[in-house]
Amino acid sequence: MINWWKSLTIILLLYTLIGGLLIPVPKQVILYESIRNLYFHVPMWFSMIFLFLMSVVYSVKGLSSNDLSFDTKAKELVNTGIIFGILGTITGSIWAKFTWGAWWVNDVKLNGSAITMLIYLAYIVLRGSLEDEQKRARISGVYNIFAFVLLLVFIGILPRMTDSLHPGNGGNPGFNNYDLDNKMKLVFYPAVIGWILLGWWIASIRIRISKVTQKLEA
């Protein structure tokens, strides 16, 4: 069973879909049944951060070893991370429409996600404007590390200093306090693991595709 984790991914995500939609949830004012979005919206961001983190790990490895395969991995992890970021934005936007009443609000976490997207789109543009492979690997690696650290500051530290509409900020109760009762945790944690594994799976397929394309071109 080499690919046990792929089976695990499928099982966890099936469980998330079925359990997430059917298992009873606590009734909350405003949120009502939309609280089920917790199983889909929040894990998207966790997966995105996980993929970007792994990308930075590969960038560090690539910088210290000059091995081009690490660069391919870093690139494809970023690409997959962007997909999850877009999905997180869409699910968040729909949720915001039904709870806060607008598709987009000027909230510190929403701005953080927009900036994350800008940073990684800039990363892709930077890669596009460099032709030499060695040079591209090294320079985009440097930018990847630099940007990720500042991004962590932006989405990790600054939101705690200002108010946010999100649960757990600015006087809003966090989900952990009472909403996330034990039944929800039973779905939420498997959902997080499932989505992260799915992200890793997609990224590994993309890495293999891009390796094959590189071989074919060479």
Binding site: L118, I139, V142, L158
Partner: protein, 204 residues
């Protein structure tokens, strides 16, 4: 070595003067603090972007090999950061002076405001230095410097704006301590990262 380019330096100073003058013609007098602070930081941001876009251009050609052979990358990045920071302080001081003369000065706690201005300028100029080092390796230098640096500059910029708003309203050290300390720590992180990462850029 940048001091040799007198025309570029004067150009940046003139850029600041004309931008502030345009703002003066539009607003003539700015009483509202939030607009004043926002305008000040926008002028600073664009002046410093203009100033540092060129900071690695000269190293792209033959002179690059000369510097490469005589200096360590750490020494080069430190000197670049230092030069750009000093230039940025000059720009900031000039902008502040012009703003006070032309648009009025609504800031209540001036000494603390200067500290914020100092720290914010340092952060912005350092991020721009590394970004322009990255962008100098590509062909479309100017655009790339901007798109690489603006999103990663936002933590510094937003903290600086928030802190300067508080100082402008006359809060004391205790009240905006959090923001100023954050700003200082951010600067340390940025300088350290540039210092560690630059040698990898330089080698290519």
């Amino acid at each position: 070595m940048e001091l040799r380019q007198k025309a570029a330096l004067n150009g940046i100073l003139l850029y600041v003067i004309s931008t502030v003058f345009v703002a003066y013609l539009i607003f003539s007098r700015l009483e509202e603090l939030s607009t004043w602070v926002a305008l000040l930081w926008i002028v600073l941001l664009f002046a410093s972007t203009n100033a540092s876009i060129n900071s690695f251009r000269k190293e792209a050609g033959r002179e690059f090999f000369y510097y490469y052979s005589i200096a360590k990358p750490q020494a080069i990045i430190l000197s670049k950061i230092l030069f750009n920071a000093i230039l940025q302080f000059v720009i900031a001081a000039l902008t502040l002076l012009l703003f006070s003369v032309l648009l009025g000065n609504p800031v209540e706690n001036m000494s603390l405001f200067s500290v914020v201005l100092f720290l914010g300028s340092l952060g912005i100029s350092t991020i721009l230095t590394l970004s322009s080092a990255i962008a100098s390796k590509t062909k479309n230098n100017a655009t790339l410097t901007a798109i690489l640096s603006f999103p990663i500059m936002l933590p510094t910029l937003l903290t600086a704006i928030k802190a300067s708003m508080l100082c402008g309203l006359g809060f004391s050290w205790e009240d905006c301590q959090v923001f100023i300390v954050t700003l200082g720590l951010l600067n340390i992180v940025i300088v350290m990262l540039s210092f560690i990462l630059f040698p990898y850029l330089w080698r290519s």
